[in-house]
């Protein structure tokens, strides 16, 4: 398997094909990480990539390419998971993840991997809620807000509704904004882009990643309650929450908190392993009560109503300082 992956990798370096997602913006060979399902890793660290086909992998910046030694395992039915090792000499920065599959299919997920020099003790995270991209103007608003956030924060979380209607055109505009974002961005879907639309463009509706010593759990409350109690989401939460247990802080982000979201979800997220802080959009009027069960949350006003377009929280070793939010 390793030898085959190496062969693909060498081929990819020689071929230099045209890289891209699929023409309609949906994910191709590379599933995760991507520009809404980011990986933040130190040089010399490792991360997992999910692929629809076996492929050689590399990190690409504007002026450099770093090949990724990867151990690839087949998943049941279809797909592969690749354990990628980031070369120690990789300089800090934001990279595209590029792949060339065994069938010769090239793919590129821009803005998928951020390499940091060291885990920061303290940093700021910006939360943007409900950008609801409809047209070029609203996409530009989100780009402006992310640029402004980058002046104060090193990480951004954007919760749904990400688009107005979940149309392919709106999602392609969102992808373009995320591709050009000046900082790593984790996103969580809202009703317009709920599963399976979200899965086609960004992969799993449940995603966790580490930022330095902290863990972030992006979860999904966009599907109609209480349906999320069924299926695989909550097992993924349990597994990912467990994987994040060693983290200094574990923070969550979602479209809204709803007391009707189902007992399994409430038990898993808020009772067994309470999150240290939850970033939530305001959601439906009056729906943000009850489900918290003592968990601490930041309710960010909808994008259009927020003065700066985002709220800022300061993450320190001893505390998480959050902004005042409307009650």
């Amino acid at each position: 398997m390793m030898r085959r992956a190496l062969a693909i990798l060498l081929f990819s370096l020689a071929a230099l094909p045209a890289w891209a997602r699929n023409a309609d913006g949906t994910l191709g060979v590379l599933l995760t990480p991507n520009n809404g399902r980011p990986v933040v890793v130190t040089a010399g660290g490792a991360f997992d990539a999910m692929l629809s086909e076996e492929a050689g992998l590399r990190l690409a910046a504007a002026d450099a390419i770093y090949t990724l030694p990867a151990h690839m395992e087949a998943l049941p039915g279809h797909g592969f998971i690749a354990r990628c090792n980031v070369p120690p000499e990789t300089p800090p920065g934001t990279y595209a993840l590029e792949a060339l599959s065994a069938s010769g299919q090239p793919d590129r997920n821009a803005h998928a991997v951020t390499v940091i020099a060291a885990a920061p003790d303290a940093y700021a995270v910006a939360h943007i809620a409900g950008p609801a991209i409809r047209d070029d103007a609203s996409a530009q608003q989100l780009a402006t807000a992310l640029a402004a956030a980058q002046q104060k924060a090193t990480l951004a979380l954007v919760t749904g509704p990400l688009t107005a209607n979940g149309s392919p055109e709106e999602l392609q505009r969102l992808i373009a904004v995320l591709d050009a974002a000046p900082l790593p961005v984790g996103i969580s879907p809202g009703p317009p882009e709920r599963s399976p639309v979200f899965e086609r463009y960004f992969g799993p509706v449940v995603w966790s990643f580490r930022y330095g010593r902290d863990g972030y759990l992006l979860f999904n409350t966009s599907d109609p309650a209480p349906a999320p109690d069924l299926g695989q989401d909550w097992a993924r939460y349990e597994l990912q929450r467990r994987a994040l247990k060693p983290c200094r802080w574990v923070l969550g982000a979602t479209y809204r908190l709803d007391p009707r979201q189902g007992l399994r979800s409430i038990v898993t997220l808020f009772a067994d392993d309470p999150l240290d802080l939850i970033f939530s959009g305001e959601g439906d009027a009056g729906s943000n009560t009850g489900a918290l069960a003592g968990n601490r949350a930041v309710f960010t006003p909808a994008f259009s109503a927020a003065p700066e377009g985002f709220t800022l929280s300061l993450i320190n070793p001893s505390a998480i300082a959050t902004p005042r939010t409307p009650k």
Partner: protein, 374 residues
């Protein structure tokens, strides 16, 4: 919580208790005696192999929003769409197998629906509340209990199918978020408890007019744990539930007939949840993450020996459901890459082909058979 020393000893050294080996027999002699018997048992077991269940109700759809109740017929291999496709909830067979109850959306309202297994006679119950969940049949198939309202406002409501009337149970108590029948005139319910800074629930016995805490004498510290997924023991002489007592989620059983108190029957550092009591009361099927992924296991409540039913290193299995005779289990597994419903014998053998009608398949329930416990 109270611990049973015998149970703990067995858990620490499972090989110490092997019910197939009588004490005092030298090893070689034991095998000499039991080898022919084993062969005979094997032949008998093969002759009496549990057949595939005739019908399995399950949910299927392309996404959570269009999940719909289907009934799979083993004889024809066909899946019949019998639900509404409005984010339908898990199907629940009436004990006589004549009806299926499930949650569904009617506009923005979450209501309870009934339908015959062949898709006829579909109806929505005239629920007074706009949010109704967790239907559970009364033992005689003539009434349903479900939860009206969410979290703090939740209360059990009993719908009498003969009179077509709803009755709120539990007096003025609210925050009863799940209920199952514990007899003709009694419910077991999980209720919210006031607790500083975190979700806490407790088990209650509920009648039409009163609510009584059930485990106060058995748990060491009340109002601190989040109990969920309560099940009454067949025969109604016990109950089981999951709780985060001890730090992670475990399955607990209360066996009142044997006066053994409260037992952690699944003890493991990984989460165990969603217990389903077998009709004979001897086994509990449940989901566990002890193998690294979510798998279906069963535990013998007498010996607390845990056996895997459907477990794999790179796929998930969940939603176990017993046949009414207790000889087969239905569950969902992603072993083929997609979530499909499977049935197998209680040990995980004689597995059926995957059953599915869409990209998502979930919440299987085997139709009760004549002769099975109801």
């Amino acid at each position: 919580m109270a611990r049973d020393d015998t149970v703990r000893r067995i858990m620490l050294n499972p090989s110490a208790v092997d019910p197939t080996m009588p004490k005092g027999f030298p090893q070689a002699r034991r095998y000499a005696i039991f080898a022919p018997m084993f062969s005979l048992f094997t032949i008998i077991a093969l002759l009496g192999a549990a057949p595939s269940p005739a019908q399995v109700a399950f949910l299927s759809g392309t996404c959570p929003a269009d999940l719909c109740v289907y009934v799979h017929d083993a004889a024809t291999g066909q899946n019949a769409r019998v639900g509404r496709g409005q984010a339908d909830g898990a199907p629940v067979w009436s004990p006589d197998g004549a009806w299926i109850a499930f949650e569904t959306f009617e506009g923005a309202r979450r209501v309870i629906a009934l339908v015959r297994p062949d898709g006829t006679d579909a109806r929505l119950l005239p629920c007074a509340s706009d949010w109704n969940t967790h239907p559970a049949w009364a033992p005689g198939s003539n009434a349903l209990v479900y939860i009206a309202g969410a979290l703090e406002s939740a209360r059990p409501v009993v719908f009498d199918l003969d009179t077509g009337t709803e009755t709120s149970w539990g007096g003025e108590q609210r925050g009863l978020i799940q209920a199952v029948w514990a007899g003709k005139d009694s419910l077991l319910a999980v209720g919210l408890q006031p607790s500083k800074g975190r979700l806490a629930t407790e088990v209650f016995q509920v009648s039409e007019t009163a609510v009584v805490p059930l485990l106060r004498g058995l748990v060491s510290s009340k109002s601190r744990y989040a109990i969920h997924a309560i099940e009454a023991k067949p025969g109604l002489d016990g109950l089981c539930f999951e709780s985060n007592d001890g730090g992670d989620r475990e399955i607990y059983a209360v066996l009142s007939a044997r006066r053994r108190g409260l037992i952690d029957v699944s003890n493991h550092r990984a989460a165990d949840w969603n217990p389903r009591w077998a009709p004979n009361g001897k086994w509990i099927a449940f989901e566990s993450f002890r193998g690294g992924r979510r798998g279906v296991y069963r535990v013998n409540v007498d010996t607390v020996l845990v056996q895997p039913v459907c477990v794999g290193p790179n796929f998930d299995a969940w939603a176990p459901s017993w046949s009414s005779k207790g000889d087969r289990l239905a569950y969902v597994s992603t072993e083929s890459g997609a979530p499909l419903v499977y049935t197998s014998d209680a040990r995980g053998g004689q597995k059926s082909a995957g059953i599915g009608a869409g990209a998502l398949n979930d919440a299987p329930a085997i139709r009760p058979e004549k002769g099975g416990r109801k």
